[in-house]
């Protein structure tokens, strides 16, 4: 094991949340270190984001954008909370709408190029946001380290005093001492086999936080993007058809029928094709089609633009010149679609509403530990309808400020050697076993459990099976992981071993939460409890480790502005009711 490095604030994760947290922390006058499991600006979900920044239109017009003078922070909050099925922590939403204008203005002042701005959004690209944020990090004396996969938190008297990870290129376990730690590690979408998220998002720090005693919240809430490309392999996981369907085209079942238009209320169809409710509605409808046997050969549905006049399609090309979107060339796919073909698409694990429990200061339930962006939970309740880019900027800045404030009053603690040895032994154990289970095989088994039981439509029996299979993997298989590769340098088997352990732990957390919530709410849909039950389930589901055992509990909603209605209602009725309220 190599020597321990020290810093005031340690930021883990180099997507937008981590970068913004590091900038804020440094600007508050404390030494700041930021660690990536990949490379600065080249890992995490920010780089592949579309990407829009959202803020209320009134504030947008005041900072010189188009905006909408009739709009306000409270209206924006209301839309987010109603469409989040009231599960949102309203203190987090208040911080979001309050700080969104300042974070947006700062991005523009830092030279972010954007392509378009409207009533409530500024559209740029994830690569551009990363470019600007990385430039700001490099301008400051912030220490950054690439390719260190963080796996554990170090604890002293219930406070976080540092973290441990594996330097992938050198194959060494490394430890870091810090007065406070910010987690900004994104979601855990890679625990599913089909996802729109990049590699590395396997929930290692969710699992570490849970092991260390931090609370997780709303882990049952997973957003699926409904029309993500299944084939060809080079485009697999791309959400471009989801971008297109906002303009034209439709999803078809295997007989070529547009199932959403044919089988649902016309108003539901209109909402699905014109609002941010699109992910939720299309995912549920598409999954029903697949489950009844009317899906495509690869287990999805079909995206088609066959009924759209060619000149209308050509007109849209002006928005995406040469049919290039982000850095991918879709021109041959577009030609193929224009010729009347349909591309196979399916719901992909896309965004995690749940995560590490935080308050409005980004503080977790562990002293000295803060969390920002997608790895934190509670902001978007049961359904995200506003920008996750704004989330990472707002929460990143708050976490950076809180962590630096805390560090000013804290002391660097010496790392307990027994604790460090225990982590080291656990991490290196698979390297010492020459026979046993291969992590790459176990990953497939674990992902199959997620695909089968934690997909868009869940039910009690399936979730019980998921819990029992995951518990068995945790106790019987993970302790038998073995690695054949002798070299420690970029040892893929070791990376897989690290990832499959956290994947199993976060999926178990998600399955237990999903089983516990006996209702359907937003993206969490249970066929055995199809009603949204506001009389019983206006509560957040909390997971924590007590005396080594995973314990479930609930807490009442955090309500500051908007009181939820009582009653029970079905999926479509719930949406139609909400639209009625929003339309007033």
């Amino acid at each position: 094991m190599s020597a321990t490095s020290s810093t005031d604030v340690l930021v883990i994760g180099t997507g937008g949340a981590g970068l913004r947290a590091a900038i804020e922390s440094f600007d508050q006058g404390v030494s700041t270190m930021i660690i990536s499991n990949g490379a600065l600006g080249k890992s995490g979900a920010t780089m592949i984001a579309g990407a829009d920044v959202t803020l209320d239109g009134g504030s947008a017009s005041r900072i010189g954008l188009t905006g909408n003078e009739l709009d306000s922070e409270i209206r924006f909050l209301r839309d987010i909370v109603i469409q989040g099925y009231y599960l949102n922590n309203q203190k987090l939403v208040e911080a979001y709408v309050r700080d969104a204008p300042a974070r947006t203005k700062e991005l523009i002042d830092w030279g972010t190029k954007y392509v378009w701005d409207g009533k409530r959004a500024v559209i740029s690209q994830g690569v551009e946001l990363n470019r600007v944020l990385v430039e700001q990090v490099r301008k400051r004396n912030i220490v950054f380290t690439d390719d260190v996969y963080m796996t554990d938190l170090l604890i002293d008297e219930n406070s976080v005093i540092g973290a441990v990870g594996v330097d992938i290129n050198r194959g060494e376990v490394k430890s870091y001492r810090a007065k406070s730690v910010v987690l900004a590690t994104g979601g855990w979408q890679r625990a599913y086999s089909f996802t729109s998220a990049p590699g590395g998002m396997t929930g290692t720090m969710h699992a570490a936080a849970l092991r260390a005693g931090a609370d997780l919240v709303n882990m049952e809430m997973v957003t699926f993007c409904p029309n993500v490309i299944l084939w060809p392999p080079s485009l697999k996981g791309d959400i471009f058809p989801y971008i297109l369907i906002e303009m034209f085209g439709d999803l078809l079942e295997k007989h070529g029928r547009p199932f959403l238009r044919d089988e649902y209320d016309p108003l539901i169809y209109r909402i699905a094709t014109t609002t941010e409710w699109n992910k939720l509605i299309f995912s549920l409808a598409a999954t029903r089609v697949v489950l009844r046997g009317d899906g495509s050969p690869r287990g999805g549905t079909y995206y088609s633009i066959k009924t759209v006049p060619v000149n209308i399609i050509d007109e849209a090309e002006k928005l995406y010149p040469g049919w290039k979107w982000l850095r991918t060339d879709f021109s041959s796919l577009m030609e193929w679609l224009k010729a009347g073909n349909a591309v196979e698409v399916a719901p992909a694990a896309h965004y995690m509403e749940g995560g590490i429990l935080v308050d409005e200061h980004a503080a977790t339930t562990l002293k000295g530990l803060y969390a920002a962006g997608e790895c934190s939970g509670g902001l978007f309740g049961a359904n995200r309808v506003a920008s996750a880019i704004t989330q990472i900027l707002v929460q990143g800045a708050i976490a950076g400020k809180s962590a630096s404030d805390f560090s000013k009053k804290a002391k660097l603690k010496n790392v307990n050697k027994t604790q460090l040895d225990r982590v080291h032994t656990r991490l290196s154990a698979p390297l010492k076993r020459k026979t046993g289970v291969r992590a790459v095989d176990l990953k497939k088994r674990v992902r199959k459990i997620a695909d089968d039981h934690l997909w868009v439509i869940r039910n009690g029996d399936g979730l019980k099976q998921a819990v029992s299979e995951l518990e068995s993997i945790l106790t019987r298989e993970l302790p038998r992981l073995s690695i054949q590769t002798q070299s420690r340098a970029y040892n893929k088997e070791w990376i897989d071993a690290i990832e499959v352990e956290s994947m199993t732990q976060v999926l178990l957390a998600s399955a237990r939460s999903a089983l516990f919530r006996k209702e359907s709410r937003g993206v969490h849909y249970r066929s055995d409890y199809p009603l949204t039950n506001n009389d019983r389930w206006l509560r957040e589901v909390i997971l924590r480790k007590v005396h080594g055992k995973l314990t479930l509990t609930t807490r009442p909603l955090t309500i500051t502005k908007l009181r939820p209605p009582q009653g029970k209602f079905g999926f479509e009725e719930g949406i139609l009711r909400a639209v009625k309220v929003l339309g007033e």
Binding site: A39, I48, V127, P198, G200, Y490, I495
Partner: protein
């Protein structure tokens, strides 16, 4: 099931133990439109777990560029380069090799 297979020649080099790189050849079942990343995944999962190639934070969207390699002497991203027949895969030239196809500084 795949009807034919392709020969895949991959440069192997471990700076800790090797004085120079050498090629290792694998036979991989061919699937239409498969990418170099699919080929490498097949080798790693089914034939040789010791192979090193960058994939742990791969974006699959031409953005991160960390899976850059050369295929038949032409540089390209392994996640987006499609395979049509036998291939030779090398690490990107002029970069220090960490192991096999993984280089420093990408």
């Amino acid at each position: 099931m795949s009807l034919r297979s392709i020969k895949v020649r991959v440069s192997r080099f471990n700076p800790e133990t090797d004085s120079s790189s050498h090629y290792q050849t694998y036979e991989v079942p061919f699937e239409p439109r498969m990418t170099v990343m699919d080929v490498l995944d097949y080798v790693y999962e089914n034939l040789d777990p010791t192979l090193a190639y960058h994939s742990h934070t791969s974006c699959h969207r031409r953005v991160c560029s960390r899976c850059n390699i050369t295929v038949n002497d032409k540089p390209g991203l392994s996640c987006h380069t499609e395979v049509t027949g036998d291939i030779t895969i090398n690490p990107l030239p002029r970069y220090k090799i960490i192991r096999d196809l993984v280089v420093e500084g990408l």
